[in-house]
């Protein structure tokens, strides 16, 4: 079967530590935290009282959608998704408004839940016997496909338009689905990504699972501590990330600027067997997923320069590192550099994969490795596996050719990308 090369030509991001690529790039280079104390969470008596939200000006949406569309739009997840996706589209050199349908371009955009504040509004009205007052704009904002519908409608996308969901693997998986459609010749271009708005209801449900950071409520910037011995849970975050993926020939034909190549990818499930459960990944599934991604990329583990981990700052970090060691067959000083963006922006759930992939692409484009903040006290068991020198706490400027990026989600879902610096002379992946 003929196989197409897939390149990344556009990026957009709405992150707790930066809205728009320039701000975000500055923040990840300088280790800027987007985590804050949330007074409402104290009032609600949550254990974890810190969170991460983008500094998002709602009115800026006027630059993205029509006034009539903005009037009545309330879902924050949809707002974030629109800005990330349309920024990526513009970044790829395209105009937002056009009369034609782009039959060759589709969209896979994910989210973990529809906007629960919107759902609460519907519940409150209906229970008060005021359903008549809900109006025409509620359904489109509480349907799971809401974000995708807004994005594809605004851009006129006519290929596959899919709304996906796989918990914390959502963003990475959405990128992989877009990649697969282009690779197999089913689409020329895909707008891919994910968006998350964590409100008090979602936050509360995680808080009740006792998996959130609770010992740093008075030091919010220190609250997310992946791979540290004092890591006591993750910090939920909100935001969105988006990429434009493109068939290499299609991109070259329109003289697009190419950020990087998506060399290969895999997504699978451990089947919730062999240690895999609803909430924990089976090591066998993770190792298989990473190895399949390398195989798909026709890349050896030895070529990996950077591992952009899932690494949420729970007890699962050590297991994740163990899985990477087994999958790559590298350990100690020979292991690649490792970082976790979650140290700065917390865990943006469904949006984690897309925001972190935008960060991975920027690290390739600008040839650096962003720091792991809050790693004053790395977990000794992790150091034993991959050595402290591979866990940068300050920015590292060096050649970064290939990044392995993975995320893992509830339901034992794994997703791994192999992203490479773009080299038009390399024909290794042109036919398989």
């Amino acid at each position: 079967m003929s196989s197409r090369r897939v390149v990344i030509t556009g990026l957009g991001v709405v992150s707790p530590n930066g809205v728009g690529i320039p701000d975000f790039l500055h923040s990840i280079q300088n280790g800027v935290s987007g985590i804050e104390f949330i007074p409402q969470y104290e009032e609600l008596r949550f254990n974890c009282q810190v969170g991460a939200s983008p500094d998002f000006e709602w009115e800026q949406l006027r630059n993205y959608i029509t006034e009539t569309c903005l009037y009545g739009l309330k879902s924050k997840a949809i707002g974030y998704g629109i800005v990330a996706a349309l920024d990526a589209w513009k970044d790829a050199g395209n105009d937002i408004v056009g009369a034609e349908t782009h039959w060759e371009t589709g969209c896979v955009f994910g989210s973990s839940v529809a906007d629960t504040e919107m759902i609460k509004n519907a519940i409150t009205r209906v229970d008060a016997k005021e359903s008549k007052k809900l109006g025409s704009r509620v359904v489109e904002q509480i349907m799971n496909s809401g974000i995708t519908a807004y994005i594809s409608g605004r851009l006129g996308l006519g290929n596959r338009v899919i709304s996906s969901s796989s918990a914390c693997a959502t963003g990475t998986q959405a990128i992989i689905m877009g990649y697969e459609y282009i690779k197999h010749g089913l689409a020329k271009r895909m707008v891919v990504g994910s968006s998350e708005y964590v409100d008090a209801y979602i936050f509360g449900a995680f808080d009740s699972m006792r998996v959130l950071s609770r010992n740093f409520n008075d030091q919010p910037h220190k609250a997310s501590r992946p791979m540290s011995i004092s890591a006591g849970g993750f910090v939920p975050g909100s935001g969105a990330g988006a990429l434009v993926l493109e068939d290499l020939e299609f991109a070259l034909a329109r003289n697009a600027t190419i950020y990087a190549e998506l060399l290969g990818a895999s997504h699978n499930s451990g089947g919730q067997r062999d240690g895999g459960t609803m909430t924990a990944p089976s090591s066998q599934g993770v190792v298989r997923c990473i190895r399949e991604a390398l195989e798909d990329a026709n890349t050896s583990a030895q070529e990996i320069d950077l591992v952009s981990g899932h690494l949420t700052a729970t007890s699962a970090d050590k297991l994740e590192i163990q899985n990477w060691v087994e999958a790559l067959g590298r350990k100690g000083a020979d292991f690649p550099l490792v970082n976790s963006l979650k140290s700065m922006i917390g865990h943006c759930l469904s949006a984690a994969g897309s925001i972190e992939t935008v960060a991975a692409v920027l690290q390739i484009k600008h040839q650096f490795v962003h720091p792991n903040i809050n790693l004053e006290d790395p977990n000794p068991e992790i150091i034993d596996l991959i050595s402290e020198a591979n866990l940068p706490v300050k920015i590292v400027n060096r050649d970064i050719n290939i990044v392995a990026k993975a995320n893992f989600g509830f339901g034992d879902i794994n997703a791994c990308l192999i992203i490479s610096k773009f080299n038009n002379h390399g024909q290794k992946d042109s036919i398989s």
Binding site: E67, T68, K132, K133
Partner: protein
């Protein structure tokens, strides 16, 4: 309330739902909400909800179906306002 007053007020009710602000300034009773003002047909229900709230009336399904042109909207609104609550 006379028809001219309702027409002027209707401009404000309809304004958020049309991109065609120039035509909105010059609407007459003959202006069609969907064909002329290019209002999304799904948004007619929002205009009905806003009109119900503004005039403290209830617009039933049969009346709502008549609300295509500005003139027929005015008919329905004045008719409902004259009905005892």
């Amino acid at each position: 309330m006379d028809r001219k007053t309702v027409l002027v007020e209707l401009k404000n009710v309809v304004a958020p739902y049309t991109e065609n602000k120039e035509m909105l300034d010059s609407i007459t009773e003959d202006t069609d909400l969907i064909k002329d003002l290019k209002i999304n047909s799904a948004n007619i229900v929002d205009i009905i909800i806003d009109a119900e709230s503004k005039y403290n009336i209830e617009i039933d399904f049969d009346s709502a179906e008549k609300m295509h042109k500005v003139g027929s909207c005015i008919d329905v609104i004045i008719n409902k306002m004259n009905q005892p609550a």
